[in-house]
């Protein structure tokens, strides 16, 4: 547990590390979940079953200490399974009210698997909760403490009648099964997780999240309006059309990115969340190409993985590699063995493959030199 007076952004950064621990290749998803939570938006994660979508949501909820609700929707799921059953005591008094105890209307973080399988009744009620944070059913009108809803689906819906509901999930993340090079890491991490006790003490809190959300709403956006407008124009010129709603609300994500990075004014470095607003995976890839020069300076000290994934730019990449080098240097101060050497070689390879000597940022160059020196001493 971290000191209670810790800066909220640092607390969230620690929470992200806690949530990511043991999860392989899901750092981007966790970063996006946290960004959306600060911005007050929702996330749709698209990917096949068994790709740790729900585990990522659970871990963020645990790391933030938030009340959590999770459900797998099906075609025959009753609204009472999501929102609560009729309150029988009130019914005897002639009032049709819902007992929402422990159900989604009382959750601060919610995960709905196969979210588009829900009935019209469920989705219509969810619309109100996602949009206005209000649960309406019969005589029940409840203000919901929901910070974030993470919806999961195997594939994007093709039914036009679901388009309005789908559009409520501003951010989209596409996950795939672990790639071949990471299989050993997945197996090791998965086995270790099953043996370890889960860390139940949250590293941050809803208070920290709400504090950052307030700061996010106060971020000055004037400076990035021309940049964002230019980015949207480039997307349109490339055949990618975002709804006006998505364009306007992307500003919340940009403001949240700036707030998480400790700034009161958004800059060009904060535009990268726009990639996650683009609705499909193919379109996100196209958007990265179209916006590569606009996003090249994209970076975020707290959401490093998501910034690098969105920009695929040198600034974010250098930051990640520098952090990785610091970790290896710290590990090497404790133990230098064959496994450590392999990790160092892999990192040096990535650094040299990614940056020509004179293009390396100073910090990264410094860490590289230290790693090379350490390798030389222990050769």
């Amino acid at each position: 547990m971290l000191p209670p007076d810790l800066d909220p952004a640092r607390a969230l950064r620690a929470a992200i590390r806690q949530a990511s621990h043991g999860l392989v290749d899901r750092e981007v998803l966790i970063d996006v979940i946290v960004l959306a939570a600060v911005a007050g938006e929702h996330v749709l994660v698209v990917g096949p079953p068994g790709t740790a979508k729900s585990e990522a949501a659970r871990r963020v909820a645990r790391a933030l200490g938030g009340s959590y609700f999770e459900y797998l929707l099906g075609r025959f799921t009753e609204p009472s399974e999501i929102f609560g059953a009729v309150d029988l005591a009130k019914l005897r008094q002639g009032l049709v009210e819902t007992d929402t105890t422990g159900m989604l209307p009382e959750a601060e973080i919610a995960f709905l698997d196969e979210v588009f399988q829900g009935s019209t009744a469920i989705l219509n009620t969810l619309l109100g909760i996602l949009n206005e944070r209000v649960f309406l059913r019969g005589h029940t009108r409840v203000r919901c403490p929901l910070r974030l809803c993470l919806g999961a689906t195997n594939a994007l819906p093709t039914d036009p009648s679901l388009a309005a509901f789908a559009d409520r999930f501003l951010m989209r993340v596409f996950v795939e099964p672990i790639s071949d090079p990471l299989l050993e890491e997945l197996l090791t991490a998965g086995w270790r997780l099953s043996a370890d006790e889960p860390d139940s003490a949250p590293f941050a809190s809803m208070t920290a999240l709400d504090d950052l959300a307030r700061r996010s709403r106060a971020v000055e956006l004037k400076g990035i309006v021309p940049l964002l407008s230019e980015a949207v124009r480039r997307l349109r010129a490339g055949g990618l059309h975002l709804s006006d709603r998505r364009v306007v609300r992307s500003q919340r994500l940009i403001a949240a990115a700036a707030a998480l990075d400790g700034r009161t004014q958004a800059t060009g470095a904060d535009l990268w969340p726009l990639i996650f607003v683009v609705p499909t995976a193919d379109e996100q890839a196209a958007a990265r190409e179209l916006l590569s020069s606009v996003l090249a300076a994209g970076d975020n000290g707290v959401l490093q993985a998501a910034a690098e994934e969105a920009t695929q730019g040198p600034v974010a990449r250098a930051r990640r590699l520098t952090a990785a080098a610091d970790q290896l240097l710290a590990d090497g101060a404790i133990l230098v063995d064959a496994a450590w050497r392999l990790r160092v070689e892999a990192l040096l390879r990535e650094i040299d493959a990614g940056f020509a000597g004179n293009d390396r940022p100073a910090d990264l160059g410094d860490r590289r030199d230290k790693l090379v020196e350490t390798m030389g001493r222990v050769a």
Partner: protein, 132 residues
């Protein structure tokens, strides 16, 4: 975005250092790699996670627009890659080639068609020749 590395090229002392490094690897680790050598250079080909590292190494990758070329992963061309590939083919013939900047400011094109599995005895023989 850097090209995914598919080869590493080393010259002079770095090439000899890499050869010694590879001679210390187990056969299973060498198996996914192929290599070709010149008088004082070596090119090792393989997936990025399998490639070795030494200081001064140059990593090369394929641009989809020019699959017959291996280009530095960390530098872009200032001309369209497909036109560059066409011009290079007219100049030096069909590849595959590993292409990198020369110290003099031009380009060096290294043929990589002869690349084959890494055999320890051949690597040792190359090290001996490179020393003399």
């Amino acid at each position: 975005m850097p090209l995914p590395a598919r080869a590493v090229l080393v010259r002079a002392a770095a090439a000899r250092q890499l050869a010694h490094h590879l001679l210390g690897w187990e056969s299973a680790r060498l198996a996914p790699l192929r290599a070709c050598v010149g008088d004082d250079l070596m090119v090792v080909l393989g997936d990025d996670t399998c490639l070795p590292w030494v200081d001064q190494a140059i990593y090369l990758g394929h641009d989809p627009a020019a699959p017959g070329l291996l280009l530095p992963t960390n530098r872009g061309l200032n001309v369209p890659v497909d036109l560059f590939a066409e011009a290079l083919t007219r100049r030096v013939g069909r590849g595959p080639w590993a292409v990198l900047p020369a110290d003099s400011g031009g380009l060096v094109a290294v043929p990589i068609a002869p690349a084959g599995p890494i055999a320890r005895d051949q690597l040792e023989a190359w090290v001996m020749r490179a020393r003399s």
